[in-house]
């Protein structure tokens, strides 16, 4: 990507996310995740360049850019606008966060799982989700896990599960939404599917 000597305030969504206008959905998602970490208040040393206020503004722009570019219809509209074939674009409203700092205690876990506290199998993850009255679509939107991948995870369908590196990321995101310890979930889940014969690197 060529630097365009434009301040981030004037950059278009592709420039904000530092991706090529032809970037795939996956590239856009990776860029978004990285930028969120880069401009988070805990990003080491970055205060030497940006004020807290500027970082907040950059993050808001990154979120806005991702909301548009991650939605095929909005992205298409936006591309038309960049080419001057359209004058206005819809910016989707931020999705309401469905789980802020939820933490599921042992008592609730037992209630959700009919007396047990684990293991975190696909079936049990689904039970916990239903216990929290979360729709699969809602979870998919919040975690950016595709609806199909979510089903595969809950069904422990080893033939359609994604490669290990993605699977781990998905399990982590899913565990967070459910208020579970991500590492425990990943450990339990991978142990189960490995026994079932999952071996996608």
């Amino acid at each position: 990507m060529v630097s365009s000597m434009k301040t981030w305030r004037d950059q278009n969504y592709y420039e904000i996310l530092e991706v090529d206008p032809q970037a795939t959905d996956e590239e856009i998602r990776i860029a978004y995740e990285k930028l969120k970490t880069t401009y988070s208040p805990s990003s080491p040393g970055i205060y030497a360049l940006f004020t807290p206020q500027e970082m907040k503004e950059i993050l808001a722009k990154v979120e806005e850019a991702y909301r548009v570019l991650s939605n095929p219809r909005n992205r298409n509209e936006y591309d038309l606008m960049l080419r001057g074939e359209k004058t206005e674009v819809t910016i989707p409203a931020p999705a309401p966060a469905i789980s802020l700092h939820r933490h599921l205690g042992p008592a609730e876990l037992r209630e959700a799982l009919g007396g047990e506290e684990g293991p975190f199998s696909g079936e049990n993850l689904r039970k916990i989700r239903e216990y929290l009255s979360l729709e699969a679509d809602e979870v998919a939107r919040e975690t950016k896990i595709g609806r199909n991948n979510l089903s595969s995870i809950e069904e422990e369908d080893i033939n359609s599960l994604p490669a290990l590196v993605y699977l781990k990321g998905f399990l982590k995101a899913y565990a967070k939404v459910l208020g579970l310890d991500p590492y425990k979930v990943i450990e339990d889940y991978l142990a189960r599917i490995t026994r079932k014969g999952y071996q996608r690197e």
Partner: protein
């Protein structure tokens, strides 16, 4: 590709913070380039804290940059010493702390001029810690200086400050116009009374004073493409810090940094330094040595890491 004349690459390696492995990287990059059949000269410009020679197994350099600075020898080639690696030569740093840690401007210019005249495929300059003008000016001998950082917050903080210093120093050196110089100096302090908050504000202001100068500075910023190496990386998340720095540089300065790669934290580095033998010779197949070879091939081919590490 470049005709008969030998393409000469000069890179200075700096990073603001001390103890992050600059000399270690310089020594081993030099060896890795020689492994690929290149002729390499390493210059220890860590004035006042030189120890590149030690890393190359030379305890007492017989002749150093001191001898050149004091004009006891006329040409910088006369202070070149051989190392145990064929085609790898060294200009040892000054060991005379009192006189040489603070050279005069003309002395520094003479050293830089002579470095340009050296005959080799690659010339790598090892810089001291800090962001003093000497360090910044040596870093700016080429458009493609190499920043070295480690994943610690202290290193990153210093690196960003160093980058800022380099950036403003570069712009300042480009103009002889008093008014423009003044405004660049003002801009270095974020709380300046002129309200110049970012490099972009500064460029706008310069354009207002002198349109041509503004365009020139912009062009120079576009051509300025420093490179980045992250040292002592323990996991993938730490390796990804390189991308964060790259993004911050784009968004803050409008400069494109090439992320060349990372070097794993490796106990063999410690062992080789203790032994006084370069890693690439002492532990040629270690993880860190492998990383250095990867970086070397990126350096030679002008490549960099892509956004997602797999």
């Amino acid at each position: 590709m470049y005709g008969e004349k030998r393409e000469k690459n000069i890179w200075a390696i700096g990073g603001g913070k001390g103890g992050i492995g600059k000399s270690f990287v310089v020594a081993n990059l030099g060896i890795a380039l020689c492994e690929r059949g290149k002729e390499v000269i390493l210059v220890d410009a860590d004035l006042g804290g030189a120890n590149l020679h030690t890393l190359l197994g030379i305890t007492y350099p017989t002749i150093t940059l001191d001898d050149f600075i004091r004009k006891e020898v006329r040409n910088i080639e006369d202070v070149l010493v051989e190392t145990e690696v064929p085609h790898l030569k060294l200009i040892s740093g000054s060991l005379d702390i009192l006189t040489m840690s603070n050279p005069k401007y003309t002395q520094k210019q003479r050293v830089i001029r002579h470095i340009y005249s050296l005959d080799a495929d690659y010339i790598i300059i090892d810089l001291g810690a800090g962001s003093s003008y000497h360090v910044l000016d040596f870093f700016l001998v080429s458009e493609r200086g190499i920043f070295l950082i480690t994943p610690e917050p202290t290193s990153l903080e210093n690196a960003y400050r160093f980058l800022k210093g380099v950036f403003f120093r570069k712009l300042r050196n480009l103009t002889s116009q008093y008014e423009v110089k003044k405004i660049i100096e003002l801009a270095m302090d974020r709380g300046n009374p002129e309200g110049i908050k970012t490099p972009f504000d500064l460029l706008e202001r310069v354009e207002g004073i002198d349109r041509e100068m503004g365009a020139l500075l912009k062009e120079e910023i576009r051509r300025f493409r420093p490179q980045l190496i992250v040292n002592q990386v323990r996991n993938r998340a730490e390796a990804e810090i390189g991308f964060f720095v790259k993004s911050a540089c784009r968004k803050y300065f409008g400069i494109e940094l090439s992320y060349l790669g990372y070097i794993f934290y490796d106990h063999n580095v410690y062992l080789s330094i203790q032994k006084g033998r370069p890693l690439l010779l002492n532990h040629p197949t270690s993880d860190a040595a492998r990383c250095i070879r990867d970086i070397t091939s990126k350096l030679i081919n002008g490549g960099e890491l892509s956004w997602s590490l797999r």
